[in-house]
């Protein structure tokens, strides 16, 4: 089974490297139980439903979607905080889908996570040097090197090294997120998974943390998987962006094409919903508004999951699940009626190997 590796448009050279992380037909279902005495499984929440993608070394992959689309479950599954129901996760070619603790230990050193809420993800009873000591120990740093290492880490994330004896509550939200980043960096990982790392922060602090992540990536040649609901932020940091809806991939787009050439109507709807902080721009642009709310993920719609809210939906959308179709430039979308593509682009488009197993063979038509 080959996993699509698309040439990247910016960041030349990345294309010929092997993928760092591969995800194949990954499914995560959460059972829904009911019953007073004996709980029976009455259904499943389809949190992540047949998702396939690959992450190249040095790349930043953004994942966006509304709450409940499965983006957080997806990255929690990648670090094995949640177990996959089906499918495979490979890190540097090694299958880690069912690896046990012992097998995972070396991989977790290379794959770290930064969580959304910096308050909840730092132990309030530990000083910063204690918080950073554990990952340093795991990395095999000798005890007498702890202090200089800790200072260097704090300096790297833009905190005063003198603050190493402080407790998390003595820091502001933005500073705590920097500590979370320092903790992830302490084991010298290759890949950092960021779950809404800036959404709890004020805009001016957001910008600082985004710039910091940018700098660290350039310095240490890291790969990021960046999950957020804020399309502006994701677009700013990412090379490629995955748009998810109800557990499915809707679109995989090079970051620079996301705004100018959204192929899936859901992506346009998301973009249209974002108010642009520029009054004239806001007044002049055409916005597709979608009505209603995402359907229940226990009982997702048949066919294309977006068809219940889609302005372009036709009969086929409710009966056949669209294949993930690959257009030029590695831009993929799962839609029967793609937009912003020419007829010839549609003709030359091919079915992607990343298409879900359940997808039909129907070709997209404009």
């Amino acid at each position: 089974m080959s996993v699509e590796v698309e040439p990247q448009t910016d960041g030349a050279g990345a294309a010929d490297r092997a993928p760092l992380l591969e995800v194949e037909h990954l499914r995560v279902l959460f059972p829904v139980k009911s019953g007073a005495v004996v709980a029976r499984t009455v259904g499943h929440v389809h949190a992540v439903d047949d998702v396939t993608f690959a992450l190249r070394e040095g790349e930043t992959l953004g994942i966006v979607g509304e709450s409940g689309c499965g983006k957080t479950t997806l990255i929690r599954t990648l670090v094995r905080l949640v177990d996959a129901t089906d499918g495979a996760i490979r890190f540097r070619g090694a299958d880690i889908t069912h690896a046990d603790r012992k097998q995972l230990a070396p991989i977790r050193r290379e794959m770290q996570m930064v969580f959304q809420d910096p308050q909840a993800s730092l132990n309030p009873r530990k000083r910063i040097n204690q918080i950073l000591a554990t990952p340093l120990k795991i990395r095999g740093v000798s005890k007498d090197k702890f202090e200089p290492e800790t200072r260097a880490l704090l300096d790297k994330v833009g905190l005063h090294p003198e603050h190493l004896n402080r407790y998390p509550h003595e820091f502001s939200g933005g500073q705590r997120q920097r500590i979370g980043i320092a903790r992830a960096l302490a084991v010298e990982p290759k890949l950092i998974l960021l779950d809404e790392p800036v959404s709890a922060l004020d805009v001016s602090i957001q910008a600082q943390v985004i710039n910091l992540l940018d700098e660290i990536q350039d310095d240490l040649h890291l790969s990021y998987v960046f999950v957020a609901h804020d399309l502006g932020v994701v677009r700013h940091v990412s090379d490629r962006i995955i748009v998810m809806y109800l557990g499915k991939l809707m679109e995989v787009s090079p970051a620079e094409e996301l705004y100018t050439k959204p192929i899936h109507p859901y992506t346009s709807a998301l973009l249209g919903a974002i108010p642009i902080p520029d009054p004239n721009e806001n007044r002049s642009r055409e916005r597709t508004m979608i009505t209603g709310e995402p359907p229940n993920p226990i009982n997702p719609p048949t066919g294309c999951r977006f068809h219940t809210r889609c302005p372009r939906a036709t009969d086929i959308c409710s009966t056949a699940e669209p294949q993930l179709t690959e257009y030029s430039n590695g831009h993929m979308a799962a839609c029967h009626h793609p937009q912003n593509v020419t007829a010839s682009e549609v003709v030359s488009a091919v079915r992607s190997d990343a298409s879900p197993h359940s997808a039909g063979d129907e070709r997209p038509s404009t």
């Binding site: 509304e66 677009r235 721009e281 508004m289």
Partner: protein
């Protein structure tokens, strides 16, 4: 719903006139001056946005108008004249008559502002009957359904009997808006009404607010940190920083001719979907000061790369542009200098002194 809004403005020009409002909280560590001399006004039918970061005093300002910050450790200064009557000095009884009837509030978190053990319909009915003693329960329920319909809740009649947990976040926020509208208020205070919601739902709620403003002529004070939302809906903007208004102008003035370096920083910090991604974001260095020990002079001085000696004196909130008498700011720099300094690359932003150190 009658268009009472227009009538409200008749008393002495403005619907609401906040003059030199001060709010301070006594804490164990000292006095926190959360709001330090805030002045603004709003007319009927207008949407005024109060923009700022956490701790800027924007929410405290809004809550003080409703009398929600009163307590043994709070002290107030200044006035807030609503149709000529002062809200800051008003007695609890007087306030109760205004609150919910003429001024209504929508809070950020729709989950914690609805009572989880009462049906949604009953909560709206309670709100109706508090201010209208004559209405029967059945009539009030009909009215509740009508209001829910109005704010875009489908099958409103059936959903009166639902509990808040049966609603999604967006639907709960619609219920909150329906409750706020019960008595056709003249002024709606919305404190981060869409922050907890997804963008697609946010767009729907903003649309709802826009329609309501047009239909009822009510004035809206929108407290938010999101400049995108502001650009979408506001007529005028008050930018707050560390308890003070640092700039006040129309939507276009603030976005296209911002006078205060903090406003530049805010505008520059946003990762926009429609902008070139190659540049680093011109972030604001450092973080807001502690209001226990605010810096001397301009509160933004320690973070401002353009600060000079004069900034240790507090600049007045005044019009500094000859052709825009209503565009106020608190910055000592000359307008000519500002025009040059605020340009970072091809956008407005705060130039960096060095790399960001917090």
């Amino acid at each position: 719903m009658s268009a009472d809004g227009a009538r409200g403005a008749s008393t002495d020009g403005r619907l609401l006139e906040v003059q030199d409002l001060k709010v301070s909280f006594r804490t164990e560590d000292g006095v926190v001056q959360a709001v330090d001399g805030v002045t603004f006004g709003i007319d009927s039918g207008e949407v005024l946005a109060i923009v700022g970061e956490s701790g800027s005093g924007k929410s405290v300002t809004a809550m003080t108008l409703m009398g929600l910050t009163r307590g043994p450790n709070t002290s107030f200064g200044g006035r807030a004249l609503f149709q000529g009557k002062d809200l800051v000095g008003a007695s609890e009884d007087e306030l109760r008559k205004v609150r919910g009837a003429q001024i209504a509030m929508v809070f950020q978190d729709p989950m914690s502002s609805l009572d989880p053990v009462y049906r949604v319909g009953d909560q709206i009915v309670e709100q109706i009957r508090v201010h209208d003693k004559k209405i029967s329960k059945a009539q009030a329920l009909d009215r509740a359904a009508e209001l829910m319909e109005k704010v875009g809740i489908p099958r409103a009649g059936d959903r009166l009997r639902s509990y808040p947990h049966e609603f999604s976040g967006g639907m709960r926020q619609r219920v909150m808006i329906a409750m706020a509208l019960v008595n056709s208020p003249k002024l709606l205070l919305a404190d981060e009404p869409t922050t907890a919601l997804d963008v697609t739902i946010q767009a729907q709620i903003l649309d709802e607010l826009r329609t309501l403003r047009e239909e009822t002529g009510a004035a809206v004070i929108l407290v938010t940190h999101d400049l995108g939302v502001v650009a979408d809906i506001a007529d005028r903007i008050v930018v707050m920083y560390a308890g003070r208004v640092v700039e006040h102008g129309t939507l276009d003035e603030i976005f296209y001719d911002p006078q205060h370096p903090y406003t530049w920083g805010l505008l520059g910090s946003i990762a926009r979907v429609d902008r070139d991604r190659s540049q680093r974001l011109p972030a604001i260095p450092g973080m807001p000061p502690s209001l226990l020990r605010p810096p001397k002079g301009c509160h933004f001085r320690p973070r401002c790369p353009h600060a000079f000696e004069r900034c240790t004196d507090v600049p007045e909130l005044a019009a500094r542009l000859p052709d825009a008498p209503a565009h106020l700011d608190r910055c000592w720099l000359e307008p000519e200098q500002k025009r040059k300094l605020r340009q970072v690359g091809d956008q407005i932003g705060l130039a960096s002194r060095e790399t960001v150190i917090s």
